[in-house]
Subunit: 344 residues, 2 copies
């Protein structure tokens, strides 16, 4: 069987500080499109859509001292969530032609352990790329972080940072569907417009234009914040801690503002959680994938009826991968950053 | 009826930074030892034992911007937990001669709303002063913070800061009774000796002598910390966050290291709670007083059998109050700081 070209995105070495495009290389390798003999539980896939997610930065660091105990292997292809088509399967649950989503490598074709596949894609009346976003890890993160960790009640006051991002845009919409008052923050006028006019946030803050986030939060939340969906950490968290309401909850999904700092910013207002009885709960979506069928039941009708929308920022071609991935740490993406490797 | 002298401890003004003895005044006033007419639900008490507790510092600050929404009134007597004897009662639940514990004023005699009394003291075979400590608010704080918020399991690894203090010495003993491995930190050799030789801690750290608390914690907790009972905040919390185990819990009881700082220290390692799925939960013992009868059932037999001990640091006389109270923020107390106003 003939070999075909297989472009890949390689991490050169562990990254310190903000990642740069030059931390990655696009390399041409080859692959034989046939499962090697003895490939039980391995699946050969063609990668279609790859997901650019903030947590990937934590895998670029030397794991020693990193917040993430796992890390990419330097000189190897990076990996992440993606939508792939099965070309040949060594696992009984998958067969040629199946569409799947899960963890795959940043390359055109991958041999992946079947255990890395999260779910077979059954509902194909929605854009396939959605399985890297609203119907994939970010969707589940928003859903479980808000509902399972945040325990929202109708009428509560919700604040979301990185509010137009892959996860944030959904937290805002889910919170509105749940009858909450929702304010989001983002870093450009365009994103703030999206928050109010596309995602239905009650109020939106451009944090880059505010000198005193504490005062802004006090204005938007005179009674305090019941749920802060934490995506960014640092100064935003510090201002939020001054504005939490009694028995408030902070699902800690991520702290993107801190991932690229060699010296993280100090959070000075933590003592405010004592009298307010505030809960901070770090969570990882992987602990909640058993809820995926329930999530699909909830979200698919909303998508079909247009009651939940999803904004994607699509980069075309694997060679755009480094730029797209690096861009999310500068806030270049508007909505969920997707990388198209191939549309079929 | 004749008036009697009634010495009181007055807060001069809101305090900034470390409190000083000179922030308080001892003043002589007088009181008629008779309930005024129409004093429904008011009780006249003689104060016997007063409790010096870290949270009292939060009441000395201007409430504007403070972590505590309540504050003492400048030029009035400060208040706190205490054991008192009822001289005359305007409330049906109390009668002359009853011993009670709850919130009272720092003075010899007080007229207090009955609602400020937490419990009538029924078990008198233990030192009365214990109702400011092991059998009072600090005991309940240790019990509910550890068991209700911390959800300990046998065999788990527990770290306690301010470990010889009013609350910490009990958390350590409760954790040992529960079958946990327990390490405590304190700030003098004498306290560290108490931790190991009196309270049964497995290991004890003198944090003032350690340059690298992170390394010390790594040595004592090679598998990580399941429960960190947080009394101090700041640098200790930062080192702990690097050493939490998967699904660890941090009941946040207090952050005494931060109460006196005009600029709190920054906690830089919060992002470590994400992958470790760590919970931080601020709590206030007042939410748990319904568990007091259950707590007494648990702790009284242990006290009587000598299986739980309690170390008190006793100051004699109301005029020693300011010194005793200020001392707990300098770590002068060894064990629970009690102030004796009168022994009967």
């Amino acid at each position: 069987m003939a070999e075909v070209k297989n472009k890949r995105v390689i991490l050169k070495d562990y990254v310190t500080g903000f990642p740069k495009e030059s931390d990655m290389n696009i390399v041409d390798s080859t692959i034989t499109l046939k499962l090697p003999q003895g490939s039980d539980n391995v699946v050969l896939v063609k990668n279609l859509y790859l997901s650019c997610d903030p947590y990937m930065r934590t895998l670029m660091s030397n794991p020693q001292g990193s917040i993430n105990p796992r890390a990419y292997t330097p000189q190897s292809a990076i990996a992440g969530y993606g939508v792939s088509k099965v070309l040949e399967s060594g696992h009984k649950d998958y067969k040629e032609g199946d569409l799947v989503w899960g963890i795959t490598n940043w390359e055109e074709y991958s041999l992946i352990p079947a255990a890395q596949i999260h779910f077979k894609i059954e509902n194909k009346d929605v854009p396939l790329s959605y399985y890297t976003g609203i119907l994939g890890m970010p969707g589940m993160t928003a859903y479980t972080g808000f509902f399972e960790v945040g325990s929202p009640k109708k009428g509560e006051n919700v604040f979301v940072s990185a509010a137009s991002g892959a996860v944030g845009q959904l937290v805002g919409q889910f919170a509105k569907l749940h009858g909450c008052y929702v304010v989001g923050s983002a870093g450009t006028k365009e994103k703030v417009d999206l928050l109010k006019n596309k995602f239905g946030y009650d109020e939106a803050i451009n944090y880059k234009e505010e000198q005193d986030l504490n005062a802004v939060l006090k204005r938007h939340f005179p009674e305090g914040i019941d749920i802060y969906f934490e995506n960014v950490g640092g100064k935003t968290l510090d201002a939020v801690l001054l504005n939490m309401r009694l028995n408030g909850r902070i699902p800690v999904c991520g702290m993107i503002s801190q991932y690229n700092l060699t010296e993280p910013e100090g959070v000075t207002n933590l003592a405010h959680i004592i009298y307010k009885r505030v809960l901070l709960q770090g969570f990882i979506v992987a602990d909640f994938y058993h809820l995926y069928p329930k999530f699909l039941e909830f979200v698919l009708p909303h998508i079909r009826e247009g009651k939940v929308v999803y904004v994607e920022d699509i980069a075309e071609g694997l060679e755009k991968g480094p730029e797209a991935l690096v861009g999310i740490f500068k806030g270049h993406n508007v909505g969920k950053q997707v990388l198209v490797v191939s549309r079929e």
